[in-house]
Structure formats: C-alpha cells, structure tokens
Subunit: 212 residues, 2 copies
Amino acid sequence: MRIPLERKVLNENDRIAAGLRERFRERGVFCLNLISSPGSGKTSLLERTLEGFDKSRRVAVLTGDIQTDNDARRLARFGFPVRQITTGGACHLDARMVERALADIPDEYRILFLENVGNLVCPTSYDLGEDARAVVLSVTEGEDKPLKYPATFHHADLMVLNKIDLLPYVPFQMELAREYARRVQPDIEIVDVSCTTGEGLDRWRAWLEARL
Amino acid sequence: MRIPLERKVLNENDRIAAGLRERFRERGVFCLNLISSPGSGKTSLLERTLEGFDKSRRVAVLTGDIQTDNDARRLARFGFPVRQITTGGACHLDARMVERALADIPDEYRILFLENVGNLVCPTSYDLGEDARAVVLSVTEGEDKPLKYPATFHHADLMVLNKIDLLPYVPFQMELAREYARRVQPDIEIVDVSCTTGEGLDRWRAWLEARL
C-alpha cells in the first residue's frame, strides 16, 4: 500500500495558507516571507527595517527557529509586536504555525514579516499565505547558490544580496550571481545591501513601500 | 488512522547505513560526513584537502547537491574518484543514495568523504554509515548557530570554523562560538581554518590523519 502522505500534508498546509491569504487581503495586510541560509542576515535586515520605521507603523514579525528565541529578542527592542516560532526540530515554517502565532498578536498590523527557519531548501515548499517572498543571499556564500537551490530562487519575487561590505574580501562576482538568479527566475528583482554599513537599504525600503 | 511513516523511512535508512558501515569496517575505510549551511566552504575544504594528498592516497568523494554538478567538477581536477549525487529536490543525502553512487567507484578507496547537501537541519537525521561527522561553520554566519541548530552540532565529532581570514571584517566571537558548540556537544573537537589563506589546514589534516 502506498500512501501519498506528502501531498496530503501539503494540501492541508495549502488550505490553511489560503485562509491566511484571504484574511490578509480583507484586512489590507502585506505579508512577506523571508527565506535564506543560516546566517545570511534575515534578522539583521529586519533589525535595520524596524529601526527605520516610524513608531506609528503597524508592523508585526513572526520569526522561526528550531531552537532559541534569540531572534525575537533582537527584534523586540524596536517596540513592534514580535513572536518567536520555535519549530522544535522542523526545518521550515508551515501555515499552521503562522496561524497559531498570529492568534497571539493584536489584529492591527498592516505589514507582516515572516522570518523563516534558516534553510535554503525546505521552506520553499510551504506556502504561508504571503504576498511575496524574498530570498536573502550573502556574498560570502558564493554566487552559484541560485543554480544549486533553484526552487527557492524560482519562487522568490526579490533577491536581497546582503553583506556587500565584505565584497573586497571574498571572491564573489555580483554580475554572475544576478545572472544565475535571473536564469531560474527571469522576473526576480534584486537589491544589493549591507546591513552593517546601511548601504543599499534605501533600495530595499523602496521595494517594500512600493508593495504596501 | 495514524501511520508512523517517518520512523519507517528512517528505519529503512538505518538498515542500509548499517550495511555501509559494516562494509567500510571490513575494508578499513574511514568515512567522513561533512555537513554545513550552503556556502560555508565544504567544497573548498575538500579542494584544499585533496590538493594536499599524495596521488597514491586512496581517497574518494561523493558530493551531494539538489541541482548542478559544479562541486564534482571542482573536485575532480585533483585526480581522485569523485561522483556527484544530484538529489533532485531532496534536502539531504540518504544511505541509499550513497550506496548507489558507490557502485560506480572502484573498491580501492580507504578514505571516503561525503559532502552533504548544504543544509544545517535535515542531513543530521540521516545516518550514511560514516565513522565521523564534521560540521563546517563559517565565521560570517554568526556564533549562535550551534544553539539555533543544536541537533547538527550535537551529533558532530568535529566543528571546522572556516573563513577565519574574514574575522577582521565581521563581528564574530570565536570563544563564544566554541562555548556554544561545547554546550550542545561537550566532546566536540574544534579546528579553525581559512581555506583561502591555508591557515589552520595543518590542524584539520592532523585531525584527519589521527583517524585513519
């Protein structure tokens, strides 16, 4: 007997994700799913983003990790609602985890960031009801990552090339990284940033504001 | 009806892995499973390692990726048998993939490197019949990774702290990274290396030779 379990699990996820998407649409929420390798700088990007927001902005963050609430603590100090989702072993966020964590946040946010578990593979298969996906690639990881992890880049609306302050010290070819990303997703938008120096963050913010 | 599918899949993997381990033991093979985030430098570490080996060394490499045979091509130029395992979407190597790929390599190797898919989560759950596991962590990823991905570090015999040439440019605290790694695996050995400058590679080679 063969049981199509993966399909069933994903269908269940898709059903919950569709509910979340409908709920976001009704309330005018823009939801962004952030995906990357461990240590590419998703949390740093969110720190810089929250830091730049006026305190009246109605923004919330759910941040996923297998263990620890380090990221939630880093992000909470900007005064916006932040909840850690500790997956306890699971290698990705799923729609049910998001639904549960949202129950704990007042329904006032209009921007919702979902910081996925650091993993360039598995999160891609799980719709979280988001409006857009951003993949963060740091220049220390090598320009071949879009070709080696094509599904993640194929499903992304934006590639954030992070840590460009380290370009003088690593053999990373920006143009090649862009070419590879466009090979798997011709319409992908690309912004180059450094969360350390702040360079390029205006372009990231402009991309975000254009979507609100 | 609840079906313990994960256990069943893992049992099947464990059965094949036990067969591989027995085969390695009989033939006096040392097998090392290399795990890390995407872009931490597993392939670079293997390049430097193969480069330093006398051509008479009986070494072979299997290198896993979701797509592309980039890594196999990088490693093949040193003249040792190298096979790419393209997982076609799977986020980890499993024992059956290793068994199949080995069928394609002459039974002469005494050192076998298994370069896993770049993923700090899923590969941990899959025994490949290896004698030891090494986790590669680059200093650009942040020192908190052992706490955030504890299972991977808990099951590792060695942590290779890579890209130490970039230490002047990133806010990475070596002592803290070591402390976090030892918190999840008190017996973990640690070597600091730069595959770019070659610094510390003697310590990595000494670790390896001590195990042969």
